[in-house]
C-alpha cells in the first residue's frame, strides 16, 4: 500500500516534469537538438588524422631527377604541394602565414652529385609550432623518400644484373578493428560519451534548482512527497531524453561518420542507460547543492565536460598520464562507457567481456543515486 502510494507520487512527478520539459523550448533544444549538433561539429573538427598538409618545394636544381623526386610528393593525399618557390624569403612568409607546414629544398647540383655516385642532401624545413602535425608530416616525407631511394636502388641493381631482390626483413602489418586507422573510429565513440555526460547532467542540473528558485519546492516540502520519490520521479523523464540522445548520436556516428556497430545495439543501449542513471543523478545532486540554476549549469559543465574529455582516455591516452592521475581516471564513468562503446561498436564484443566496465558503471550509478537522495534535503536552507 505504502509502496503503491510512492509509485503514484513518483509517476505524478515524472508526468509533471515531462509537461514542464515539453513546454520549455530551452530544455527541448538542449536535450534533443544540441547532442546531434555537438556530434556533427566535433566529429568533423576533432580529427587527429594529418591530411592535406600544405608544403612548398624549392627546386634549386631544376633537373630531371629533382622533378622525378618532387613528383612523388604530389601522389599522396597526406601532403599537398601548394607552391613552387624560388627563395627562402618566400618560404619564410608562407610558413609565417601558415599556408604551408613544411618545405623541401633540393640543392643545386643534386642530379650531378647523384650521377657522380655521391650521396646528396635534401633539406626539409618543418613548422614545429604544431608539433603533432609536424611529426606526422615529417614521417610522411621520410616514408616517401625511403620509397624513392628504394626504387632507385632496385633499378641500379637491375642494371648491374641482379633481377630478384629481397629485403631481409619485411613488415606486413594488419590493423585490427580499425583497418584504415581512421581516427574518427575512436573519436566518435568518445565524443558520444562526452556529449551524453554533459547533456544528461546539464538538463538534470536545472530541475531541482528551478523548484527552489520558483518557490515550488516550498509547496512540495509540505506535501507527502519524500526525497527519493522526487529524485526518481525526476530521473525518469530525463533518462528517456538521455536514451533518445543515445539513439541519435550513435545513429549519426553510423550514418555520417561510418562508425560501424558490429556488436549488439541493445547491449550498448542498456549499458548507456546504466551510465545515464549515474550522470543524470549527478546533475540532480548538483542541482540540490546549488539551488540556483545559473550555478548548477556551470558546475554541471565543469564536473562532466572536463573529466570526460581529459581523463577518460578519449583524447589523451591514460597510460601516458602520471600514476596519480591514472588513479583518478578510475572515478570517471565516461572512461568505462568509452571502452564499452568501442568494444561493442568496433570490436563487436559482447557484454560478457566488458564486465569490469559494467561493474564500475553500476557502482557509480548506485552511489550517485543514493547520494542524490541524501543530498536533497526537504527543508529550507538555514540562511
Amino acid at each position: 500500500m505504502k509502496a503503491l502510494k510512492s509509485l503514484v507520487r513518483i509517476g505524478a512527478i515524472a508526468g509533471k516534469e515531462w509537461l514542464q520539459i515539453r513546454r520549455d523550448t530551452r530544455s527541448l533544444i538542449l536535450s534533443l537538438i544540441a547532442p546531434a549538433l555537438l556530434i556533427l561539429l566535433f566529429g568533423y573538427a576533432l580529427t587527429v588524422d594529418v591530411k592535406n598538409v600544405g608544403m612548398a618545394v624549392y627546386d634549386q636544381d631544376r633537373s630531371t631527377l629533382s622533378r622525378r623526386l618532387l613528383e612523388e610528393f604530389s601522389h599522396t593525399e597526406y601532403l599537398r604541394v601548394k607552391r613552387h618557390i624560388s627563395g627562402y624569403r618566400e618560404m619564410d612568409r608562407l610558413i609565417d602565414s601558415e599556408e604551408i607546414a613544411l618545405a623541401i629544398v633540393v640543392p643545386r647540383g643534386f642530379e650531378r652529385r647523384f650521377k657522380a655516385g655521391k650521396s646528396v642532401d635534401l633539406q626539409l624545413i618543418v613548422d614545429g609550432s604544431d608539433s603533432t602535425s609536424a611529426t606526422v608530416a615529417m614521417g610522411y616525407v621520410k616514408a616517401i623518400l625511403a620509397n624513392f631511394n628504394m626504387d632507385i636502388k632496385v633499378s641500379e641493381l637491375k642494371r648491374i644484373g641482379i633481377a630478384e631482390t629481397k629485403m631481409p626483413v619485411e613488415v606486413k602489418s594488419r590493423v585490427w578493428y580499425n583497418p584504415e586507422l581512421l581516427s574518427k573510429n575512436f573519436i566518435v565513440p568518445g565524443l558520444i560519451v562526452v556529449v551524453l555526460s554533459i547533456i544528461s547532467a546539464l538538463i538534470a542540473s536545472l530541475t531541482i534548482s528551478r523548484e527552489w528558485e520558483r518557490g515550488t519546492m516550498e509547496t512540495l516540502i509540505t506535501t507527502p512527497v519524500r526525497a527519493f520519490e522526487l529524485v526518481f520521479g525526476k530521473l525518469v523523464p530525463y533518462l528517456f531524453i538521455g536514451l533518445f540522445d543515445v539513439v541519435i548520436t550513435v545513429l549519426l556516428g553510423y550514418l555520417v561518420f561510418n562508425v560501424p556497430i558490429k556488436g549488439s545495439f541493445v547491449e550498448l543501449y542498456m549499458l548507456a542507460l546504466l551510465f545515464l542513471i549515474g550522470t543524470t543523478s549527478l546533475g540532480i545532486i548538483i542541482s540540490s547543492a546549488t539551488r540556483a540554476q545559473v550555478l548548477s549549469v556551470q558546475v554541471a559543465i565543469m564536473v562532466t565536460y572536463l573529466p570526460s574529455f581529459m581523463l577518460s582516455g578519449f583524447v589523451f591516452p591514460i597510460q601516458n598520464m602520471p600514476l596519480v592521475v591514472q588513479g583518478i581516471t578510475y572515478l570517471i564513468p565516461a572512461k568505462y562507457l568509452i571502452v564499452i562503446i568501442k568494444g561493442i561498436a568496433l570490436k563487436g564484443v559482447g557484454a560478457a567481456l566488458l564486465w569490469t566496465q559494467i561493474l564500475f558503471l553500476a557502482v557509480f550509478a548506485f552511489i550517485v543515486v543514493i547520494a542524490s537522495v541524501r543530498k536533497l534535503s526537504l527543508t529550507l536552507p538555514e540562511n
Binding site: Q20, R214, T222, P224, R226, L380
Partner: protein, 309 residues
Amino acid sequence: MTEYSVEVKDLTKRFGDFVAVDRASFSVKRGEIFGFLGPNGAGKSTTIRMLCGILTPTEGTGSVSGFDIMDEQDRIKNIIGYMSQRFSLYDDLTVRENLEFFGSVYGLQGARLRERMAYVMKMADIGRRQDAVVKSLPGGVKQRLALGGAILHDPPVLFLDEPTSGVDPVMRRTFWEIIYDFSRNGKTIFVTTHYMDEAEHCDRMALIIAGKIIALDTPSALKAALPYSVWSLRVERFIEVFEEVAALPFVEEAAIFGSDIHIMTKKGFPLKRELAGAFKVKGIKGFSIEEVGATLEDVFVSHAARLGV
C-alpha cells in the same frame, strides 16, 4: 483525538544570532480560525514553516493533530494544506495540470480526484480558466488557485501564510468566505496576516512582534483588555497637529488613522476638556473629538509602544 489541532510550547527558531521566533507557546482548537497578526518580519511565516515541516525548530516542541512536528513530519504532511506567502505552484502548467499533480501527490485518484477538482474549481471560481497556463493568469486568480491547491485533498488543518496579500478588497471578502466555509466544516485554519481588519475575522488571534507573542485572545477580549480609552480627533492640518498631540503629557499613545488621529489616554480621563485647554494655548482651532471603541490596530499600537518597537 485531542481538543487541540495545533499545540506549540516554547517554539524557537534562531538563524545565527537572529531570533526569528522566541519561545512561542499557543494552542489552536479544532475547527477554529486562529490568526497570527504582526508586521512583516515578526516571525509569522517562520512559525508556520516550522509547523509545516519546511523549517526545523531550534528549540521547543509542537504538534499538529497530535503528531510531533519533529518526529512525525510524514504523518503531518498528509493532513495539512499549506498556502505559502509567495505563489508557489507551477506557473508553466495549466490550472488543471497543477490540481491534477497536487491531487496525485496527496494520493487522490480517479473519481475522487475529479470530484475534488470540480469542487475546488467551483469554490475558487477558476473553472473557466482550467486550461490556461498559470503564468498567463492575473494575480488574483493565481491566489485563488493556490488556495484551491491547499484544500484540494480536504485537509483537516489548513495553514495560510498571508493568503490575501496583494489581493483586492473584493477578492479578500471572497477569500474569507471560503475560509469561513472551511471552518464551518470543522477544519482548523491557521492564518497569518498583517491586515488589522482581517484579524477581526478570526476566532482567536495572537499578536506577534519581533518573534514574541505579546497577546493572545479573541479579538473582542483583546480590545476589552486595552487599559486605555480611545478617542478619535478630527482636525485641520492633522499631520502637523499630530506631533503636538503626541507630545502632550496625558496622551499615552497617538496614531494617525486615515485622516483622524487616534489618541489613547488612561481610562476615564477627561480628554475633551484637557485637549480644549491645550489647543487654546497652542492656537489650534476647529477640531472635534469623540470617544470611540478600540480597534485591533489600537491594541496593536499600544502593545508595540509598550515594547518600544
